[in-house]
Symmetry: C2
Subunit: 196 residues, 2 copies
């Protein structure tokens, strides 16, 4: 029994190492051009050994994406109205320390606009969820009289998501003027009566 | 002589067909995952036959990108200040009829954030040029007293480019609320005293 537990721990740690390697390879080459054998080499395993833990490239991608989203969800959980945007500014500021992850999301979400891409549904659902939650946060701010008059919650949410995605692209392209956290704050501030 | 001319015309037409095929393949699979042999199949040529016209995948990419940019440059040429933004709204509205091209640019510009990508320099230069020209147009609008007080031309240009890029991504993901032309107009209008 205790040996089984030890093996479980070892297996969980192995899975974690594989997810890290998959992240590194996807961030370097994008999803389409990456291979399971490349990920196996990165983590120092054989391809059959890796496939014992994850049954293919789509499963690896799923694990990589879930890990990152769980972190962001945690930072927003329990917040409402203008506080959601304060948390989003914080998430944007942290992104500036995670170039590989930002690059991975940027490449994958672009590739995944093709409906045949294995992450297509995932990215469509994710964007829809972010826009919906952000529109709800704008709406709550409106009810609390923190939103400027004339601002439509849904339009503001679409604009904010579009801006955030596009700013990451410019930052990845090397625009030194871009500060992801501060520019998100400046951008959001135009919608509110009180500054973030 | 007339036969040479005929051959030249035929060769130019062949090149045009190859560029169209390269566009279709890149738009479907992105640049990294596409192959010259796939493009050759698309246009119904042998791979050596195709390589007689273009000496590799990077040259094909270059030809595809140049064709599109020439069109946009033409629509902006000779305009200044607020008229530049009116032309940009028009270009955005036309994009909505060219999903394949928008998708190609979105995927390529994301892939090309890797400095090893053959189109890296191209996309960095292109974004820098667009931001610089847009900042200049905001500055001209300011001199003509068409810009709202407190707007920084460079910041407004970065925000506008980021927004435009991100909105295309949302549109490609299937957000039916997105109208590229109208939302660009609404977005730009916040910066100006007179509506576009």
């Amino acid at each position: 029994m205790s040996m089984q537990r030890g093996q479980y721990r070892k297996s969980a740690q192995r899975r974690e190492e594989i997810v890290e390697a998959a992240f590194a390879v996807f961030a370097r080459s994008g999803y389409v051009a990456s291979s399971v054998s490349e990920i196996a080499r990165e983590v120092g395993m054989s391809q059959p050994g890796l496939l014992h833990h994850f049954d293919g490239k789509p499963a690896l991608l799923q694990a990589v994406l879930e890990k990152r989203d769980a972190k962001a969800q945690q930072m927003i959980a329990g917040k409402a109205g203008i506080d959601v945007f304060r948390a989003l500014v914080e998430i944007s500021a942290e992104s500036q320390q995670q170039r590989g992850m930002v690059q991975l999301y940027t490449i994958l979400s672009a590739e995944a606009t093709n409906s045949a891409h294995p992450a297509h549904e995932y990215f469509v659902r994710r964007s829809r969820l972010i826009v919906t939650e952000m529109a709800q946060a704008f709406e709550t701010a409106r009810e609390r009289r923190q939103l400027n008059p004339g601002v439509s919650p849904l339009q503001a949410a679409l604009e904010s998501v579009a801006f955030t995605e596009g700013l990451q692209l410019l930052w990845l392209q090397g625009f030194v003027e871009v500060d992801l956290g501060e520019q998100a704050r400046t951008f959001f501030n135009r919608y509110f009566c009180e500054p973030l």
